[in-house]
Symmetry: C2
Subunit: 454 residues, 2 copies
């Protein structure tokens, strides 16, 4: 929960955005919390205040807010009388699943955030009352913040699509629809798990080109995929699409998402209907819902499309071109092998990516997904698609880094990898930084690969 | 709810199965109900007793059981004292969503079925007590029987796969993985709706081969797909696959499923990750969960694979080859155009199919889906894939019947169709018949196409 890895990275220099964003008092970098660990915290300063669901040591799951190295217990807050005027909102945010809270929408979320900011700020008269309902995060278990109704995985990392496409179709890496449609597919909701839960290497059918028949057994090419996760707040009725200019208000917040991928199973199963069991064994997300309010200073207008690219169709085009629909968040992937763990070595960074490399914005995902009348619901989760940049240090999966497993990489301790081996853990982190603003983190998205069931 | 269309069909002659099936007293064709409309009912005789969720005129949703033209109110039954010894089960079956009930599994479901059979049989001393808690089905609204956690659509209709494949790839209609893997993909759970709810023709991006650029507008090629739906009962923990020989016990029952398909949207969007918005605008299911117990007389062993087909891998192969994993159910699709409705004409049958044309069994779906460790949960829904036979009268979609929209069909009243027009309703029905047994129906799966949103 500490984000100490992020503290030491100099390369994450702030990249100011050009767009005007309406900032509220809660972003003021001079704002300090009476919670000491929150001051200059790399991930959870008082300017962040992400929502989640936690279980204190031995206790039941309930809503909470991260502040420094602590979690504020919203169930206790709801009973404190300090939020009596916004009781419906704080009660919903205190529940063991936050579907009701995020379904309330932007106004209610902003109201609770403003209250939390005031209560946790230096000089708050509530300090003595709140201190006893702070739990050290290291003693808490973090769960999924909401029941995920449907999980949709997009494919908006254009450099990833080019990298994968050039492995499969060297002459024609990008399919003709890519720049017209935010390509996506339905994922498996039930197997999305919170950071910290290990999973078994999947078994499945796989057939190498040199094998005459498929066989069933442990995945041979297990990979990660670095993605931004997007939580849907207020939904839409079936048959009533969300216009692009209302789409941002349907987004409750963001997380990190690791779309674990069994490449060999995928290659054999995916024609003609797409990925299925190669993805549905496990998906790991970071447990905090980082709000659009916390990320407001890091929004920017989508970069103009490169010369020659088609214009987006009107239903995907915001009325004003400079609306800051896009995000500027830096994402990292680290590998921690069993040997690194045993030797006390720091995890090794495999990828450093940026949400600026997404061809489509979260708002365009919402507008496209509902354009056919499909009803989105509070607690639906989107993945952005794998985020890769132009150079190998920014590729968001091992398939890209090792060129389909053909070129092994060597880790600092001498181990080599094409794909993941049992005992490897993948840790993802995200940070938003900008000159003159407090830095915002997402918390870790971590899981370890356990051996396949025999 | 009456199945009157089925009553008049002579071609559905019983096809005795060769496999021995353990039949219980509740299947005895001599068993008669004191509910008069249930006697010789084409769909809901006392031998059926499907579970569902209904709202009586103006009342709240609750669990119920179809018996003849009536619905027995399980919430009232739970309070009657007639099931005090199985209170947990009847209370779960009385709830407004049946996830808890179907999660209890086979033993609890059989116990409640046996009790209902006894209570509703001629001579039952409970008759006077139960009469007031029967509701005429025509006055009731039927909802989804469970909250659908995840919806998975398979592709097990091999003749359908051949028909579609030969339109797309005349030289190579069936992909190499088809006979090794029960091909499937994740569908959209939120937009699955119960029979009776109309839906708007979807808008979407589409691009004909003769068009230079895609455009956004109403679907031009709206189609139905005839499928068997499968309700999952007790689930499995993540990482713990369901062995093939335990798979049938994870199935709570069956329904009809219409996988509405926007063919033009599908053709443009589906590469490389599969169908998405072309399917996710609406899926219609029949509202009753027809139990494995009701269908026990109509189970049969899977037909041996044709000479030359590969053997299924061991994880998909039941220990005993003659286990009756497969079903013998007849399925029909009718079209009712606005003009037929206005003129009082009977709907016209487009397709007559059979579950015997499925290449994979429901048990194989369960074993395959969980083979990678994916956790299935009570209330998950599977579609079988479109069921087509060898002749055009048995094709389960208009794309197959009209050869991709190239050959229009003429309806008895002179109208013609390639794909569906606004005002068309599609009605699906299913029946299981066998000499010496009462016939079992599924209830209607019906929805009307309304004009697209402007």
């Amino acid at each position: 929960m500490q984000g100490s890895t992020l503290d030491t990275r100099a390369e994450n220099s702030p990249r100011p955005t050009s767009s005007a964003v309406a900032l509220e008092a809660s972003h003021d970098p001079a704002l300090r919390s009476w919670v000491e660990s929150a001051r200059d915290h790399a991930e959870f300063p008082i300017q962040n205040l992400p929502f989640g669901v936690f279980s204190p040591d031995g206790g039941q799951a309930r809503g909470g807010v991260a502040i420094g190295d602590e979690i504020l217990d919203l169930a206790a807050l709801a009973g404190s009388g300090l939020c009596a005027d916004i009781e419906e909102t704080v009660t919903a945010a205190a529940a063991p699943t936050l579907n009701g809270f995020i379904g309330l929408g932007t106004a209610a979320r902003k109201q609770l955030r403003a209250r939390l900011s005031a209560l946790l700020a230096e000089g708050s008269p509530a300090q003595a009352q709140l201190k006893p309902i702070l739990h050290p995060a290291r003693n808490c278990l973090l769960g999924l913040p909401a029941r995920i109704g449907d999980y949709t995985d997009f494919y908006a990392g254009i450099q990833h699509a080019l990298n994968i496409g050039s492995l499969l179709r060297p002459d024609n890496p990008l399919l003709p629809n890519y720049k017209h449609i935010p390509i996506g597919y339905n994922g498996r909701a039930s197997s999305v798990r919170p950071s910290g839960e290990p999973f078994l290497r999947p078994n499945g059918q796989r057939k190498r080109p040199d094998e005459a028949e498929p066989s069933f057994g442990p995945c041979r090419n297990l990979d990660y995929e670095l993605e931004l996760g997007i939580w849907i707040g207020p939904g839409n009725a079936q048959g009533s699409p969300v216009p692009i200019d209302e789409a941002d208000d349907r987004i409750a917040g963001f997380c990190l998402l690791n779309d674990w991928s069994a490449r060999d199973i995928q290659a054999w199963e995916y024609q003609p209907l797409g990925p299925f069991l190669s993805k549905g064994f496990a998906t790991t997300i970071s447990p905090w819902i980082v709000t659009p309010e916390a990320l407001a200073p890091f929004r920017k207008a989508q970069a103009p499309r490169p010369e020659g690219d088609p214009a987006a169709l009107p239903y995907l085009n915001p009325a004003e071109a400079d609306v800051p629909h896009a995000l500027d968040v830096t994402l990292e992937v680290f590998i921690e092998t069993a040997s690194m763990r045993a030797g006390g070595l720091a995890p090794h960074r495999l990828s450093l990516g940026s949400t600026r490399d997404l061809y489509w914005t979260p708002a365009q995902f919402v507008a496209h997904h509902s354009s056919n009348g499909c009803n989105l619901e509070a607690g639906d989760l989107f993945g952005s698609g794998t985020i890769s940049g132009r150079d190998p240090g920014s590729f968001g999966s091992l398939m890209e880094i090792t060129r389909g497993g053909r070129e092994a990489i060597t880790l600092p301790n001498g181990e080599s990898r094409t794909y993941l081996v049992d005992g490897d853990a993948i840790v993802m982190r995200a940070s938003a930084r900008r000159e003159g603003f407090a830095s915002i983190g997402f918390g870790a998205c971590r899981a370890e690969v356990l051996p396949a069931r025999g």
